[in-house]
């Protein structure tokens, strides 16, 4: 009997789609002939909202897109605005933001690790990973007051300096985290079942990966050496001593290995950044963005007016546009801000790495089984908040 292809719908409500993603699969038995992702189930119109908010009011919006690495988004948005303004932040702020960004890389990769393991049926790494994430949640909370929606940066600096003892807790985390990472490593990396589920699954070559717009660990797993921290460095990344793991085969296993190794390299960067964290102010004392001190406000009229204008109107950014990208947790995270000299952006565009990464799933999953489709989806490390914005 000739078998006919079948159309099934995975999602949008599904435990393994990592968010509200709908995958329309044409199957021949268990083999995927074609898969089409359908997105938009989390479209929250951030970009439109941004046009109604002043430059600093957009920072809380940035947490809610990639909710797995909120500080990363906070940082890249203000970095883009600062570049457009030509504003240079203090040395302490630069190192502080590097600390935040690398901490978020570990934070996001831990969630990826936990949920990918759970997708292949391994429940224990999920619990271990979440236990470690709780320590980073505590660090977030001690610094910003919120576990997830941190909103820690402002144009020109950060919302506040680190509280006493925060860097010691972070150092503590950096020292003790490798132990858990090694435990999870021993559970998965040489595990026969995990190898069977990930080796040679979802292979993509380097040139195809670039053409399809892959960035981040997905691209590096296919053998392409493109990491914004090395190729277009910012915040003195060229002075930090770290390696960028590059894969060979471009399959799910390589994507797994690249992310595991990236966590270890982030630990190296964190240690170096903690060692070199300078003293001094965390916010730059630039009249375009900084509020004058209360003493000055009470003593002279100009400071009072300056304070008043900055509070009521917000900062104003000169006309122009700027695209600024960092090596985000999922790939090249870019922010394109367009200003016409006012207090609100004309256009705020987020270049979401997961959006472009997800579009490749059709090519990756052809010919594989349905269960491999789930594994491929997990290995891409997508977050729907960022895809749908």
């Amino acid at each position: 009997m000739l078998s006919e292809p079948m159309l099934i719908n995975i999602g949008p409500q599904h435990p393994a789609t990592h968010g509200v993603l709908r995958l329309i699969c044409e199957l021949d038995g268990e083999t995927v002939l074609k898969v089409t992702p359908d997105i938009g189930f989390l479209h929250s119109s951030f970009e439109k909202l941004g046009e109604y908010r002043t430059w600093n009011q957009i920072v809380p919006l940035t947490d809610r897109m990639d909710y797995l690495a909120p500080l990363m988004y906070n940082c890249v948005y203000v970095m883009a605005v600062e570049k457009l303004m030509g504003l240079e932040v203090t040395e302490r702020c630069k190192v502080a933001r590097v600390l935040c960004m690398e901490m978020e890389r570990i934070f996001s990769h831990l969630l990826w690790l936990g949920t990918t393991a759970i997708d292949v049926g391994a429940f224990t790494p999920f619990l271990y990973a979440f236990q470690e994430r709780e320590r980073i949640y505590t660090l977030h909370e001690n610094y910003t007051g919120a576990r997830i929606t941190t909103s820690a940066t402002r144009v020109g600096g950060m919302m506040a300096d680190f509280p006493d003892g925060w860097t010691d807790s972070l150092r503590d985390f950096v020292k003790t985290f490798p132990k858990t990472l090694n435990e999870i490593d021993s559970l998965l990396t040489t595990n026969g079942i995990h190898l069977g589920r990930t080796l040679d699954i979802g292979v993509i070559s380097g040139e195809d990966a670039i053409n399809y717009g892959f960035t981040g660990p997905n691209l590096r797993a296919s053998g392409v050496d493109y990491d914004l921290r090395k190729d277009n460095p910012y915040y003195d990344y060229e002075t930090y001593d770290f390696d960028v793991p590059i894969g060979e085969n471009g399959d799910c296993y390589d994507r797994y290995l690249v992310r595991m190794e990236e966590m270890r390299q982030s630990l190296r960067i964190l240690e170096q950044a903690l060692d070199r964290l300078p003293g001094g102010p965390i916010n730059v004392a630039d009249p375009r963005v900084s509020l004058p001190s209360k003493t000055d406000c009470m003593n002279d009229m100009e400071s009072m007016i300056h304070h008043f204008k900055l509070i009521t109107e917000g900062i104003s950014v000169p006309a122009g546009d700027c695209y600024f990208a960092v090596e985000g947790t999922k790939g090249e995270l870019g922010m394109y801000v367009v200003s016409d000299g006012g207090e609100k952006p004309v256009r705020w565009r987020i270049r979401p790495p997961s959006f472009v990464n997800l579009s490749v799933i059709a090519k990756l999953a052809e010919g594989h089984l349905v269960s491999d489709l789930i594994m491929i989806n997990a290995s891409l490390d997508i977050v729907l908040g960022e895809i749908d914005r």
């Binding site: 970009e47 016409d340 004309v346």
Partner: protein, 234 residues
């Protein structure tokens, strides 16, 4: 923040307004094209297509192209060994409002040469149509669909140009345009009603609906209404 004589909340009804400081589309600083090898090469080779060049944010070079020749120039930028912009980072659009032309923005990166370049094409609001570059970079597929969905720009020769973020039955227009109000054009009641009455046949392409020879996916409507269920005694 406050409008001329209206309340501060007028913008919410009418769509975001520019701050009104510049009446022209903001231009960047005049920069030295020689600082960027691709810009000089472009100006030399595609003299008629390159309309102008700008430098934004200190060191970001932007080249404005004639929209009709975007595919030719971008193909050369991708293939020429000195340029090799093999990674299409982003395709987006900027609507400045007030009747000004819409800009389509291409952000390019060359992996071998480690260079970035921004290309812009300006389209008049009554002619929002441009050639698609999906044939050059597959990354453009979804990125152009999003620009179509949110701005209403038609990309000619795009393999699958339909809405991507908004529902397929969305009838209020293209949300990121400046004349589109923040809360949408319909009332909340109407939006809820339309959302709950989405026909999921719209979610599938015609090819998908034909898969397996299955002409329809929904179970057929019951021959009697559910009010009558249980009342018929045959």
């Amino acid at each position: 923040m406050a409008g001329e004589n209206g309340s501060a909340f007028d913008a919410v009804e009418q769509g975001p307004e520019a701050s009104g400081r510049n009446t022209e589309t903001p231009h960047g600083g005049v920069g030295n094209p020689a600082e960027h090898p691709s810009v000089t090469a472009l100006q030399g080779r595609f003299d008629s297509a390159v309309l102008r060049h700008e430098v934004q944010a200190g060191d970001q070079h932007v080249v404005f192209l004639d929209p009709g020749s975007n595919r030719a120039v971008l193909a050369w930028l991708r293939d020429d060994p000195e340029q090799r912009y093999d990674l299409l980072v982003d395709v987006t659009a900027v609507d400045y409002g007030g009747g000004r032309p819409l800009q389509i923005v291409y952000q390019l990166w060359s992996v071998p040469h480690k260079r970035a370049l921004r290309i812009k094409c300006e389209l008049p609001l009554d002619g929002l149509s441009i050639d698609s570059v999906v044939q050059l970079w597959n990354a453009a597929n979804w990125l152009e669909r999003e620009v179509y969905d949110l701005f209403g720009v038609e990309f000619r020769d795009h393999p699958d140009l339909r809405r991507i973020l908004m529902p397929q039955n969305y009838a209020e227009g293209h949300p990121l345009r400046k004349d589109f109000p923040l809360r949408g054009r319909f009332s909340r009641a109407e939006q809820t009603r339309r959302a709950l009455s989405q026909d999921y046949h719209d979610d599938y392409t015609p090819e998908e609906l034909e898969v397996g020879g299955a002409p329809g996916l929904a179970p057929p409507e019951l021959p009697i209404s559910t009010d009558e269920v249980g009342t018929r005694l045959d």
